[in-house]
């Protein structure tokens, strides 16, 4: 589904990303882990054509993302709050995203109905604009908006950070449900090795822009990652 080939990004002389090749098949739940500055967000930004790589390319479902914009019709993402429109109410935001992806109000409403638990009564029907919601609630709205319109590729940057425990657990089960669906490729990044090992089928460890480990998740994965980050 997604092919990353010889991808490098340099700022001045500093290389922040240098990946030979990663191939993510359709339906895989793919986890990215690494310390600050490992290049996780830079990689996602390259996948979404928000940053132009110095060299190399990203092929998303046979589309070179820097050459054509066709990938936008089946790819969605929530990286940070720059994916939210602050002056809209959550409902208006969902409808807006829905309209862009060809869904009418009713279809968006029925899609949102399944997340009633997840929203916990704090998103819909409130009297606040997105800009006035707490960071956690903003993230809830953003992540769910990224699921509207049956995307084939969903990219989430640190979706579990800054969420309250209940929401974390519920979001993990949403991601796990998606990974059962073999038509959706999910890419998730995280700082928390427990989180990624719990939800991802495959984990790639980045360090200073390079792939250090590429693991299929197994019961030993957690230990392996732990010992790496301990510096053993």
């Amino acid at each position: 589904m997604i092919k990353i080939e010889n991808l490098t990004k340099k700022y001045l002389k500093q290389t922040v990303l240098d990946i030979d090749s990663i191939d993510i098949p359709l339906g895989q739940t793919f986890g990215l882990i690494g310390n600050n500055g490992a290049g996780k967000t830079t990689l996602f930004s390259c996948l979404l054509d928000l940053i132009k790589p110095t060299k190399g390319k990203v092929i998303n479902n046979d589309v070179d993302v820097s050459k054509s914009e066709d990938w936008k019709s089946f790819t969605t993402a929530f990286l940070d709050e720059t994916f939210l429109i602050g002056y809209l109410m959550p409902e208006e935001y969902f409808y807006f995203i829905g309209e862009l992806r060809g869904l009418n109000k009713k279809e968006v409403d029925s899609f949102l109905a399944q997340f009633e638990d997840f929203f916990h009564g704090e998103i819909l029907g409130g009297k606040k604009y997105l800009r006035d919601l707490s960071k956690g609630n903003q993230k809830k709205a953003g992540v769910i908006a990224a699921l509207i319109g049956e995307p084939k590729v969903v990219i989430l940057d640190e979706p579990f950070a800054n969420l309250d425990p209940t929401t974390q657990i519920r979001l993990k089960s949403i991601v796990k449900d998606m990974s059962k669906n073999k038509d959706v490729t999910v890419l998730v990044s995280s700082h928390d090795i427990q989180d990624v090992t719990e939800v991802c089928e495959r984990i790639v460890l980045l360090e200073k822009g390079r792939v250090i480990k590429d693991l299929v998740t197994s019961p030993e994965t957690l230990k392996e990652l732990e010992s790496y980050f301990k510096g053993e």
């Binding site: 979404l48 054509d49 928000l50 940053i51 132009k52 914009e69 936008k72 019709s73 790819t75 969605t76 993402a77 990286l79 940070d80 720059t82 994916f83 939210l84 429109i85 602050g86 002056y87 809209l88 109410m89 409902e91 208006e92 807006f96 995203i97 309209e99 862009l100 992806r101 409130g126 009297k127 606040k128 604009y129 800009r131 006035d132």
Partner: protein, 504 residues
């Protein structure tokens, strides 16, 4: 400590996201500053020679008419100064939260922020008028020099009263509505000639010339106001007081009646919400309304300008004014496409959005604004005769057919992020549109004015109007070509725009 805070400010200015690569904006800003300073200076020179409402030139020997006339008008000068300050002057922004826990006295933080405003050009610009004006009056020998000096000191004092008053206006809504209502009332009473405020204005300001010691009271007021504002902000330096976000109760705005316009409507709906809900964006609308009357400045002075530089020059100046009258909203809103969307530009860039649809929706909104402005402006300027209406319409065609594209195109290169949610600032600065915005439009205005000026000089007024309107019509037919060029600019600028908008 003062020095250190100044250092912080300097670093913010130099290293802020907006600092790099904005040479054109800087040049325009300085162009504007010099332009206004020059205009003030010339006004000072000219005004000292004219004799009051009838504007007789030159004035008779031994008369004090220009001074008295100015005193009459000063009440309006200060009223406009208050309004302009409220909409344009940006209040000091200091990263207060970071300083709260630092070993800095809170009074120092506030004092620094307030005193920084002493040298804004709103306070300096009037000097360009006052100095030549007073100097020429003094030279004429008809005036008492001590009186003039104290009169000047008093005027400067009142300028500073408005400076500190502006802080309160930005923070106290009740005061804002009160002042707004008072100004509207004054204007209405004057318009319907119930009370002639100019008589009182003349008496009041003449007092400071006649009795120099009265100036003390003005300066006492300045210091009192400074102290009051300082205390007011000092009280607000808590997270749950002045530094707190004001949260407005949200209501859904359903613009589904627009849905028949397809994809374009999707974006227009959002832009309407933006204009409604963001103070910053609303300012664009207010400025557009304000610009409707810009032509009055020139149209009402046509006789004066034609005395000075000939009839076609006067008509050219009026034409310049009319162009702004119909294009005010277009510039105020259009100059900030795509900056209005700067906070969520990454979202826009990852959605299935065609640049064409996106730009078309912005363009449509600008054109709707221009059409409404044109209807209102034709009505306002119909009092100056049919020729004025022709000029207004010609200007409107040009704005729609040419300036709409130019503004959008320039937007691709502007790249100054707009913080729509910046209501959390301690000094109540909602980052209203700053003076720079006003200046982007000037160069775009030169071409049509020149076209009009030369054709109307060789032929007549109507031909001049037709020539400009013709250019506009041509532009309307060339829309697909223009849009292709604009789209290319947006595409090539995509990555650097994203980078410039990135705030974290």
């Amino acid at each position: 400590m003062f020095k250190r805070m100044f250092g912080l400010q300097w670093k913010e200015f130099n290293r802020g996201k907006a600092a790099g690569g904005k040479l054109i904006a800087k040049i325009l800003k300085w162009f504007g500053i010099v332009y206004f300073a020059f205009m003030s200076f010339m006004m000072g020179l000219i005004a000292s020679k004219y004799g009051g409402p009838s504007m007789t030139f030159p004035i008779e020997e031994g008369t004090t008419a220009p001074f008295l006339y100015l005193n009459k008008q000063l009440i309006y000068v200060f009223a406009y100064l208050i309004v302009m300050r409220y909409f344009i002057q940006s209040l000091p922004v200091l990263n207060i939260r970071a300083l709260l826990l630092a070993p800095v006295l809170k009074t120092q933080i506030v004092r620094f922020s307030l005193l920084k405003t002493v040298f804004t050009y709103f306070n300096i610009l009037p000097l360009f008028f006052l100095i030549p004006f007073s100097f020429l009056l003094a030279k004429s020998g008809n005036y008492d020099i001590t009186g003039l000096i104290f009169w000047n000191i008093n005027i400067i004092g009142i300028i500073y009263v408005t400076n500190f008053f502006n802080f309160l206006l930005n923070n106290k809504d009740k005061l804002l509505y009160g002042v707004g209502a008072t100004l509207a009332l004054i204007k209405a009473l004057e318009f319907y000639s119930v009370i002639d405020f100019t008589i009182y204005s003349e008496q009041f300001f003449y007092l400071f010339y006649n009795a120099p010691y009265a100036t003390c009271f003005t300066w006492l007021l300045v210091f009192w106001l400074y102290g009051y504002v300082k205390k007011y902000f000092l009280k607000g330096l808590y997270l749950d007081k002045g530094l707190q976000l004001k949260i407005a109760e949200a209501k859904i705005d359903d613009f589904s009646f627009l849905d028949r316009f397809g994809k374009t409507a999707t974006f227009i709906k959002n832009d309407l919400r933006l204009l409604k809900r963001s103070k910053r964006a609303r300012t664009a609308v207010y400025m557009g309304i304000g610009f409707l009357f810009y032509g009055l400045i020139f149209a009402s002075q046509e006789d004066l300008y034609s005395d000075l530089a000939g009839g076609s020059f006067a008509l050219g100046m009026s034409f310049f004014g009319y162009l702004f009258s119909t294009g005010g909203f277009l510039f105020m809103f259009g100059s900030f496409v795509p900056s209005w969307d700067s906070q969520y530009y990454p979202l826009m860039m990852t959605q299935k959005i065609l640049y064409k649809e996106y730009l078309n929706s912005k363009w449509s909104l600008m054109i709707i604004g221009t059409v409404i402005s044109t209807i209102l402006a034709s009505f306002i300027y119909s009092f100056f005769g049919t020729n004025a209406v022709y000029a207004v319409l010609a200007g409107a065609f040009y704005n729609i057919g040419v300036n709409g594209y130019l503004t959008l195109w320039a937007g691709a290169y502007t790249k100054s992020p707009i913080d729509l949610n910046s209501s959390a600032n301690a000094f109540g600065d909602k980052k209203a549109i700053n003076a720079k915005t006003l200046l982007v439009g000037f160069p775009q205005m030169l071409l049509p004015v020149l076209v009009y000026y030369f054709t109307s000089q060789y032929y007549d007024h109507l031909t001049g109007c037709l020539a400009v309107a013709g250019l506009g019509t041509l532009g309307i037919f060339l829309k697909p070509v223009a849009f292709n060029l604009i789209m290319k600019a947006y595409k090539t600028e995509k990555y650097s725009t994203l980078k410039a908008y990135k705030t974290n």
